[in-house]
Protein backbone atom coordinates (compact mmCIF):
# COMPACT_ATOMS: atom_id res chain seq x y z
CA UNK A 1 0.00 0.00 0.00
CA UNK A 2 1.27 3.43 -0.81
CA UNK A 3 -1.67 5.86 -0.74
CA UNK A 4 0.32 8.27 -2.84
CA UNK A 5 -2.64 10.17 -4.19
CA UNK A 6 -4.36 11.06 -0.96
CA UNK A 7 -4.89 14.81 -0.58
CA UNK A 8 -3.24 16.46 2.38
CA UNK A 9 -6.61 17.88 3.35
CA UNK A 10 -7.91 14.34 3.73
CA UNK A 11 -5.22 13.59 6.28
CA UNK A 12 -6.07 16.68 8.26
CA UNK A 13 -9.72 15.71 8.27
CA UNK A 14 -8.93 12.17 9.37
CA UNK A 15 -7.33 13.68 12.48
CA UNK A 16 -10.55 15.54 13.14
CA UNK A 17 -12.69 12.46 12.58
CA UNK A 18 -10.70 10.33 14.96
CA UNK A 19 -10.92 13.01 17.60
CA UNK A 20 -14.66 13.23 17.28
CA UNK A 21 -15.01 9.47 17.24
CA UNK A 22 -13.25 9.36 20.58
CA UNK A 23 -15.77 11.80 21.98
CA UNK A 24 -18.64 9.67 20.68
CA UNK A 25 -17.03 6.54 22.10
CA UNK A 26 -16.83 8.12 25.53
CA UNK A 27 -20.50 8.96 25.29
CA UNK A 28 -21.17 5.28 24.69
CA UNK A 29 -22.30 5.67 21.08
CA UNK A 30 -21.77 2.65 18.88
CA UNK A 31 -22.58 3.62 15.31
CA UNK A 32 -22.27 6.86 13.39
CA UNK A 33 -23.34 7.90 9.91
CA UNK A 34 -21.21 9.87 7.50
CA UNK A 35 -23.83 12.63 7.65
CA UNK A 36 -23.58 12.95 11.41
CA UNK A 37 -19.81 12.76 11.52
CA UNK A 38 -19.63 15.29 8.71
CA UNK A 39 -21.81 17.77 10.51
CA UNK A 40 -19.78 17.54 13.70
CA UNK A 41 -16.58 18.14 11.81
CA UNK A 42 -17.94 20.86 9.59
CA UNK A 43 -17.62 19.07 6.26
CA UNK A 44 -19.77 17.48 3.58
CA UNK A 45 -21.04 13.90 4.07
CA UNK A 46 -19.75 12.77 0.69
CA UNK A 47 -16.39 14.17 1.71
CA UNK A 48 -16.27 11.90 4.73
CA UNK A 49 -17.03 8.86 2.61
CA UNK A 50 -14.51 9.84 -0.04
CA UNK A 51 -11.82 10.41 2.55
CA UNK A 52 -12.37 6.96 3.99
CA UNK A 53 -12.65 5.36 0.56
CA UNK A 54 -9.02 6.16 -0.12
CA UNK A 55 -8.10 3.57 2.44
CA UNK A 56 -10.79 0.91 2.26
CA UNK A 57 -14.41 0.14 2.99
CA UNK A 58 -15.09 0.67 6.65
CA UNK A 59 -18.86 1.15 6.68
CA UNK A 60 -21.96 -0.93 6.36
CA UNK A 61 -24.55 0.19 3.85
CA UNK A 62 -27.84 1.08 5.39
CA UNK A 63 -26.22 1.28 8.82
CA UNK A 64 -23.17 3.51 9.08
CA UNK A 65 -19.79 3.02 10.71
CA UNK A 66 -19.00 1.18 13.90
CA UNK A 67 -17.25 3.84 15.94
CA UNK A 68 -14.63 1.77 17.69
CA UNK A 69 -13.79 -0.03 14.51
CA UNK A 70 -13.51 3.10 12.41
CA UNK A 71 -11.50 4.87 15.07
CA UNK A 72 -8.99 2.03 15.20
CA UNK A 73 -8.72 1.93 11.44
CA UNK A 74 -8.04 5.65 11.14
CA UNK A 75 -5.46 5.50 13.90
CA UNK A 76 -3.64 2.79 12.03
CA UNK A 77 -3.78 4.79 8.82
CA UNK A 78 -2.37 7.88 10.51
CA UNK A 79 0.28 5.93 12.35
CA UNK A 80 -1.16 6.88 15.72
CA UNK A 81 -0.80 3.34 16.94
CA UNK A 82 2.91 3.67 17.35
CA UNK A 83 5.18 5.96 19.33
CA UNK A 84 6.98 8.81 17.56
CA UNK A 85 10.15 10.29 18.99
CA UNK A 86 10.45 14.06 18.93
CA UNK A 87 13.35 16.43 19.38
CA UNK A 88 12.94 20.09 20.12
CA UNK A 89 15.61 22.30 18.65
CA UNK A 90 15.91 25.80 20.05
CA UNK A 91 14.98 26.17 23.70
CA UNK A 92 13.79 29.77 23.84
CA UNK A 93 10.33 30.84 24.87
CA UNK A 94 8.51 28.58 22.51
CA UNK A 95 10.82 25.61 22.84
CA UNK A 96 10.74 25.62 26.61
CA UNK A 97 6.96 25.86 26.59
CA UNK A 98 6.79 22.78 24.44
CA UNK A 99 9.23 21.04 26.75
CA UNK A 100 7.40 22.12 29.84
CA UNK A 101 3.86 21.48 28.73
CA UNK A 102 4.22 17.96 27.49
CA UNK A 103 0.46 17.63 27.46
CA UNK A 104 0.44 19.71 24.32
CA UNK A 105 1.29 16.38 22.76
CA UNK A 106 -0.80 13.29 22.42
CA UNK A 107 0.41 10.19 24.16
CA UNK A 108 2.00 8.68 21.14
CA UNK A 109 4.42 11.57 20.72
CA UNK A 110 7.37 11.58 23.06
CA UNK A 111 10.06 14.20 23.46
CA UNK A 112 13.36 12.36 23.65
CA UNK A 113 15.85 15.21 23.27
CA UNK A 114 16.24 18.98 23.46
CA UNK A 115 18.89 21.02 21.69
CA UNK A 116 20.18 24.57 21.98
CA UNK A 117 23.35 26.34 20.89
CA UNK A 118 23.79 27.58 24.43
CA UNK A 119 23.04 24.56 26.62
CA UNK A 120 24.69 26.05 29.69
CA UNK A 121 22.77 29.29 29.38
CA UNK A 122 19.49 27.57 28.92
CA UNK A 123 19.60 24.58 31.21
CA UNK A 124 19.34 26.50 34.48
CA UNK A 125 16.38 28.59 33.51
CA UNK A 126 14.50 25.70 32.03
CA UNK A 127 15.22 23.26 34.82
CA UNK A 128 13.95 25.77 37.30
CA UNK A 129 10.79 26.28 35.35
CA UNK A 130 10.11 22.60 34.93
CA UNK A 131 11.08 21.85 38.49
CA UNK A 132 13.59 19.18 37.69
CA UNK A 133 16.89 18.97 35.83
CA UNK A 134 16.65 18.93 32.07
CA UNK A 135 19.25 17.77 29.63
CA UNK A 136 19.96 20.26 26.88
CA UNK A 137 22.31 19.15 24.14
CA UNK A 138 24.34 21.08 21.62
CA UNK A 139 23.18 20.78 17.98
CA UNK A 140 26.61 19.38 17.13
CA UNK A 141 25.43 16.19 18.76
CA UNK A 142 22.32 16.02 16.63
CA UNK A 143 23.42 13.29 14.25
CA UNK A 144 24.70 11.03 16.96
CA UNK A 145 21.77 11.50 19.29
CA UNK A 146 19.23 11.21 16.48
CA UNK A 147 20.53 7.76 15.71
CA UNK A 148 20.86 6.61 19.30
CA UNK A 149 17.44 7.79 20.41
CA UNK A 150 15.71 7.09 17.13
CA UNK A 151 14.38 10.60 16.67
CA UNK A 152 11.63 10.64 14.05
CA UNK A 153 10.59 14.27 13.98
CA UNK A 154 12.48 17.48 14.75
CA UNK A 155 10.58 20.51 15.95
CA UNK A 156 12.41 23.66 14.93
CA UNK A 157 11.78 26.39 17.49
CA UNK A 158 14.87 28.51 16.96
CA UNK A 159 14.90 32.12 15.80
CA UNK A 160 13.96 32.34 12.14
CA UNK A 161 17.49 33.31 11.19
CA UNK A 162 18.81 29.96 12.42
CA UNK A 163 16.18 27.74 10.86
CA UNK A 164 18.01 26.90 7.65
CA UNK A 165 21.20 26.10 9.53
CA UNK A 166 19.30 23.66 11.70
CA UNK A 167 17.53 22.25 8.66
CA UNK A 168 20.89 21.54 7.03
CA UNK A 169 21.99 19.61 10.08
CA UNK A 170 18.78 17.64 10.12
CA UNK A 171 19.30 16.83 6.44
CA UNK A 172 22.50 15.04 7.38
CA UNK A 173 20.98 13.10 10.23
CA UNK A 174 18.68 10.11 10.34
CA UNK A 175 15.66 12.33 11.03
CA UNK A 176 13.16 12.51 8.19
CA UNK A 177 10.30 14.61 9.61
CA UNK A 178 10.23 18.29 10.49
CA UNK A 179 7.67 20.52 12.13
CA UNK A 180 8.89 24.05 11.52
CA UNK A 181 7.67 26.69 13.96
CA UNK A 182 9.71 29.50 12.45
CA UNK A 183 8.25 31.90 9.89
CA UNK A 184 10.74 30.77 7.28
CA UNK A 185 10.51 28.49 4.30
CA UNK A 186 13.29 25.99 4.82
CA UNK A 187 14.91 24.27 1.85
CA UNK A 188 15.27 20.50 2.13
CA UNK A 189 16.30 17.72 -0.23
CA UNK A 190 13.68 15.27 -1.46
CA UNK A 191 12.54 12.62 0.92
CA UNK A 192 11.72 14.74 3.95
CA UNK A 193 8.31 15.38 5.44
CA UNK A 194 8.19 19.05 6.32
CA UNK A 195 5.25 21.02 7.70
CA UNK A 196 5.23 24.64 8.73
CA UNK A 197 3.31 25.82 11.71
CA UNK A 198 3.63 29.51 12.30
CA UNK A 199 0.71 30.89 14.09
CA UNK A 200 0.88 34.56 13.34
CA UNK A 201 0.25 33.51 9.75
CA UNK A 202 -3.10 32.17 10.86
CA UNK A 203 -3.70 35.26 12.91
CA UNK A 204 -2.97 37.37 9.83
CA UNK A 205 -5.52 35.26 8.06
CA UNK A 206 -8.20 35.99 10.64
CA UNK A 207 -7.33 39.66 10.49
CA UNK A 208 -7.66 39.64 6.72
CA UNK A 209 -11.04 37.98 6.90
CA UNK A 210 -12.22 40.53 9.42
CA UNK A 211 -10.91 43.31 7.24
CA UNK A 212 -12.60 42.28 4.00
CA UNK A 213 -15.00 39.42 4.30
CA UNK A 214 -17.05 39.65 7.41
CA UNK A 215 -20.27 41.63 7.06
Amino acid sequence: MKFSKVPEATIRRLSAYVRHLEVLEEKGEVVVSSASLAESCGVNAAQVRKDLAYFGEFGIRGVGYYIKDLSDNIKTILGLNREWHLAIIGIGNLGSSLLFYKDFFKKNYKIVAAFDVDPAGVVGRVSEKIGKPVEILHPEQLQEVARDRRIDIAIIATPASEAQKVADQIAQSSIRGILNFTPTQIQMPKGFAVKNYFFTTILDNVAYLLRWRVK
Copy 2:
Protein backbone atom coordinates in the same frame (compact mmCIF):
# COMPACT_ATOMS: atom_id res chain seq x y z
CA MET B 1 -13.32 46.72 -2.82
CA LYS B 2 -14.36 43.34 -1.55
CA PHE B 3 -11.83 40.73 -2.74
CA SER B 4 -14.39 38.03 -2.17
CA LYS B 5 -12.86 35.53 -4.53
CA VAL B 6 -9.35 35.44 -3.19
CA PRO B 7 -8.22 31.94 -2.19
CA GLU B 8 -7.29 31.41 1.42
CA ALA B 9 -3.98 30.01 0.27
CA THR B 10 -3.20 33.34 -1.34
CA ILE B 11 -3.59 35.09 1.97
CA ARG B 12 -1.28 32.65 3.66
CA ARG B 13 1.30 33.18 0.97
CA LEU B 14 1.03 36.96 1.24
CA SER B 15 2.09 36.60 4.88
CA ALA B 16 5.12 34.68 3.73
CA TYR B 17 5.95 37.21 1.03
CA VAL B 18 5.82 40.15 3.38
CA ARG B 19 8.05 38.36 5.82
CA HIS B 20 10.63 37.65 3.17
CA LEU B 21 10.41 41.19 1.84
CA GLU B 22 11.31 42.45 5.29
CA VAL B 23 14.40 40.27 5.27
CA LEU B 24 15.39 41.62 1.85
CA GLU B 25 14.77 45.17 3.01
CA GLU B 26 17.09 44.68 5.96
CA LYS B 27 19.74 43.44 3.58
CA GLY B 28 19.39 46.68 1.67
CA GLU B 29 17.90 45.16 -1.47
CA VAL B 30 15.67 47.43 -3.50
CA VAL B 31 14.03 45.38 -6.22
CA VAL B 32 12.92 41.77 -6.40
CA SER B 33 11.52 39.64 -9.23
CA SER B 34 8.59 37.29 -8.89
CA ALA B 35 10.95 34.44 -9.72
CA SER B 36 13.30 35.26 -6.88
CA LEU B 37 10.55 35.87 -4.36
CA ALA B 38 8.87 32.66 -5.45
CA GLU B 39 11.98 30.60 -4.94
CA SER B 40 12.55 31.96 -1.46
CA CYS B 41 9.01 31.18 -0.46
CA GLY B 42 8.88 27.79 -2.13
CA VAL B 43 6.22 28.54 -4.70
CA ASN B 44 5.84 29.05 -8.45
CA ALA B 45 6.66 32.45 -9.97
CA ALA B 46 3.34 32.67 -11.78
CA GLN B 47 1.71 32.01 -8.44
CA VAL B 48 3.33 35.06 -6.93
CA ARG B 49 2.15 37.25 -9.77
CA LYS B 50 -1.37 35.82 -9.64
CA ASP B 51 -1.56 36.32 -5.90
CA LEU B 52 -0.62 39.97 -6.27
CA ALA B 53 -2.87 40.45 -9.29
CA TYR B 54 -5.92 39.87 -7.10
CA PHE B 55 -5.22 43.19 -5.47
CA GLY B 56 -3.67 45.38 -8.15
CA GLU B 57 -0.60 45.94 -10.26
CA PHE B 58 2.40 46.45 -8.04
CA GLY B 59 5.27 45.60 -10.37
CA ILE B 60 7.11 47.15 -13.26
CA ARG B 61 7.47 45.08 -16.40
CA GLY B 62 11.02 44.35 -17.28
CA VAL B 63 12.12 45.31 -13.78
CA GLY B 64 10.32 43.60 -10.94
CA TYR B 65 8.83 44.90 -7.70
CA TYR B 66 10.14 47.67 -5.50
CA ILE B 67 10.53 45.92 -2.17
CA LYS B 68 9.50 48.68 0.19
CA ASP B 69 6.54 49.56 -1.97
CA LEU B 70 5.33 45.99 -2.33
CA SER B 71 5.82 45.30 1.35
CA ASP B 72 3.70 48.30 2.30
CA ASN B 73 1.00 47.33 -0.15
CA ILE B 74 0.75 43.78 1.16
CA LYS B 75 0.65 45.00 4.73
CA THR B 76 -2.26 47.22 3.89
CA ILE B 77 -4.04 44.36 2.15
CA LEU B 78 -3.60 42.09 5.14
CA GLY B 79 -4.58 44.77 7.61
CA LEU B 80 -1.17 44.69 9.25
CA ASN B 81 -1.04 48.46 9.29
CA ARG B 82 -3.48 48.67 12.14
CA GLU B 83 -3.58 47.33 15.67
CA TRP B 84 -5.74 44.32 16.45
CA HIS B 85 -6.99 43.68 19.97
CA LEU B 86 -6.81 40.11 21.22
CA ALA B 87 -8.39 38.32 24.14
CA ILE B 88 -7.16 35.00 25.45
CA ILE B 89 -9.85 32.75 26.83
CA GLY B 90 -8.75 29.89 29.02
CA ILE B 91 -5.60 30.49 31.03
CA GLY B 92 -4.22 26.99 31.38
CA ASN B 93 -0.85 25.88 30.12
CA LEU B 94 -1.32 27.12 26.62
CA GLY B 95 -3.16 30.31 27.51
CA SER B 96 -0.61 31.39 30.07
CA SER B 97 2.20 30.73 27.63
CA LEU B 98 0.55 33.02 25.14
CA LEU B 99 0.08 35.61 27.84
CA PHE B 100 3.62 35.27 29.08
CA TYR B 101 5.43 35.18 25.79
CA LYS B 102 3.94 38.19 24.15
CA ASP B 103 6.67 38.10 21.55
CA PHE B 104 4.84 35.20 19.96
CA PHE B 105 2.79 37.99 18.47
CA LYS B 106 3.77 40.62 15.96
CA LYS B 107 3.66 44.21 17.07
CA ASN B 108 0.28 44.94 15.61
CA TYR B 109 -1.43 42.34 17.76
CA LYS B 110 -2.08 43.33 21.34
CA ILE B 111 -3.51 41.26 24.14
CA VAL B 112 -6.04 43.42 25.94
CA ALA B 113 -7.81 40.87 28.14
CA ALA B 114 -7.52 37.38 29.62
CA PHE B 115 -10.42 35.23 30.75
CA ASP B 116 -10.77 32.09 32.82
CA VAL B 117 -13.64 30.43 34.67
CA ASP B 118 -11.49 30.34 37.77
CA PRO B 119 -9.83 33.77 37.93
CA ALA B 120 -8.87 33.43 41.56
CA GLY B 121 -7.27 30.05 41.06
CA VAL B 122 -5.33 31.17 38.04
CA VAL B 123 -4.23 34.69 38.83
CA GLY B 124 -1.66 33.80 41.47
CA ARG B 125 0.11 31.18 39.47
CA VAL B 126 0.21 33.30 36.35
CA SER B 127 1.23 36.52 38.05
CA GLU B 128 4.11 34.72 39.66
CA LYS B 129 5.22 33.30 36.35
CA ILE B 130 4.99 36.60 34.54
CA GLY B 131 6.57 38.45 37.40
CA LYS B 132 3.86 41.05 37.78
CA PRO B 133 0.16 41.08 38.61
CA VAL B 134 -2.16 40.00 35.84
CA GLU B 135 -5.83 40.67 35.53
CA ILE B 136 -7.89 37.59 34.82
CA LEU B 137 -11.57 38.10 34.15
CA HIS B 138 -14.51 35.75 34.31
CA PRO B 139 -16.08 34.85 30.93
CA GLU B 140 -19.35 36.30 32.21
CA GLN B 141 -17.77 39.68 31.63
CA LEU B 142 -16.89 38.88 28.05
CA GLN B 143 -19.60 40.90 26.35
CA GLU B 144 -19.03 43.98 28.42
CA VAL B 145 -15.25 43.89 28.23
CA ALA B 146 -15.27 43.08 24.53
CA ARG B 147 -17.15 46.27 23.85
CA ASP B 148 -15.14 48.45 26.23
CA ARG B 149 -11.73 47.26 25.07
CA ARG B 150 -12.70 46.79 21.43
CA ILE B 151 -11.62 43.18 21.27
CA ASP B 152 -11.29 42.07 17.65
CA ILE B 153 -10.15 38.48 17.96
CA ALA B 154 -10.67 35.86 20.67
CA ILE B 155 -8.12 33.13 21.12
CA ILE B 156 -9.77 30.04 22.54
CA ALA B 157 -7.31 28.12 24.68
CA THR B 158 -9.70 26.29 26.97
CA PRO B 159 -10.06 22.53 27.23
CA ALA B 160 -11.77 21.14 24.13
CA SER B 161 -14.89 20.34 26.10
CA GLU B 162 -15.45 24.02 26.85
CA ALA B 163 -14.78 25.38 23.38
CA GLN B 164 -18.36 25.45 22.13
CA LYS B 165 -19.59 27.11 25.31
CA VAL B 166 -17.03 29.86 24.84
CA ALA B 167 -17.89 30.12 21.18
CA ASP B 168 -21.54 30.69 22.07
CA GLN B 169 -20.57 33.53 24.35
CA ILE B 170 -18.39 35.07 21.68
CA ALA B 171 -21.29 34.82 19.24
CA GLN B 172 -23.25 37.13 21.51
CA SER B 173 -20.47 39.65 21.90
CA SER B 174 -19.05 42.27 19.58
CA ILE B 175 -16.09 40.03 18.72
CA ARG B 176 -16.08 38.74 15.14
CA GLY B 177 -12.79 36.86 14.84
CA ILE B 178 -11.71 33.60 16.48
CA LEU B 179 -8.48 31.68 16.56
CA ASN B 180 -9.38 28.29 17.96
CA PHE B 181 -6.56 26.35 19.60
CA THR B 182 -8.74 23.47 20.72
CA PRO B 183 -9.07 20.29 18.69
CA THR B 184 -12.77 20.87 18.20
CA GLN B 185 -14.83 22.15 15.31
CA ILE B 186 -16.85 24.98 16.79
CA GLN B 187 -20.20 25.93 15.31
CA MET B 188 -20.72 29.61 14.66
CA PRO B 189 -23.38 31.68 12.91
CA LYS B 190 -22.53 33.35 9.60
CA GLY B 191 -20.43 36.48 9.75
CA PHE B 192 -17.57 35.23 11.91
CA ALA B 193 -13.99 34.69 10.86
CA VAL B 194 -12.88 31.43 12.45
CA LYS B 195 -9.57 29.65 12.04
CA ASN B 196 -8.43 26.51 13.78
CA TYR B 197 -4.91 26.04 14.90
CA PHE B 198 -4.34 22.75 16.58
CA PHE B 199 -0.85 21.62 16.28
CA THR B 200 -1.06 17.92 16.94
CA THR B 201 -3.09 17.81 13.73
CA ILE B 202 -0.03 19.03 11.88
CA LEU B 203 2.12 16.61 13.81
CA ASP B 204 -0.24 13.80 12.78
CA ASN B 205 0.25 15.01 9.25
CA VAL B 206 4.03 14.74 9.48
CA ALA B 207 3.69 11.30 11.02
CA TYR B 208 1.44 10.20 8.20
CA LEU B 209 3.87 11.43 5.60
CA LEU B 210 6.70 9.59 7.30
CA ARG B 211 4.60 6.48 7.49
CA TRP B 212 3.59 6.30 3.83
CA ARG B 213 5.26 8.82 1.61
CA VAL B 214 8.87 9.26 2.50
CA LYS B 215 11.15 6.79 0.71
